[in-house]
């Protein structure tokens, strides 16, 4: 599966899981996403952990992983796409307005941060039947 196909699959679903490091421990949270070009855009209240080191203009951001999948609960067939890349806060007012309109809030909390993840690496697996 190529990069284009993997991003197309990612864009075909509306949520996934962002993976980051919080107080030196692995952390994961389900969030909504949209795919904008090659970037994944999410809104989250976990912004502090995600982007606290990514707010200076010269800072490339924090490395995170983002996973989305569509897996049949019975057959376990489907696909999983994992993106690894730099997460940065979105600060441009026009981008913010567009993303916030597209990403409706989900969990009943203030969604403080809009974060853009630029993929450095994309891996995708098709989960296919396996004969033991």
């Amino acid at each position: 599966m190529d990069r284009f196909e993997a991003l197309r699959l990612l864009g075909s679903v509306s949520f996934g899981r962002v993976v980051f490091t919080q107080r030196a421990l692995p952390a994961i949270r389900p969030v909504n996403h949209i795919v904008d070009g090659e970037d994944i855009v999410i809104r989250t209240h976990e912004g502090a952990a995600l982007v606290s080191y990514a707010q200076d203009a010269g800072d490339p951001g924090v490395v995170v992983a983002y996973e989305a999948d569509a897996i049949d609960p019975q057959t376990h067939l489907g696909w999983s796409v994992v993106v690894t890349g730099y997460a940065r806060m979105v600060t441009d007012p026009e981008d913010l307005a567009r993303y916030q309109a597209a990403l409706r809030p989900w969990v009943d909390r203030t969604m403080d941060f809009t974060v853009r993840i630029h993929p450095e690496e994309i891996t995708a697996v098709h989960l296919v039947p396996y004969d033991e």
Copy 2:
């Protein structure tokens, strides 16, 4: 939601996503699981990254996160449970036989490692409707 209820939810689905650190980067892979008492047991071919530091008897293991959820793709309602804890390779022959019978292979690769995750922390969220 208490610990017992969170583990019950986790046990009500058969797969989730293990989150770990691989070459200093956040990594995530979908895997099958079973809940055995308070522990989550998975089979994976990523064992090298997960447990390479957890093979000595005196070693507590590697800290990983494990997430499972049941989220409606349309409404986005459902739940997500995240476990953080130590991952250790299962080496006891009886345990191995039992787990390998219960966890059927999934992805078409050799599943080399059976790993037990003992929860240190369990967090659960119910994803409920949100009025903007």
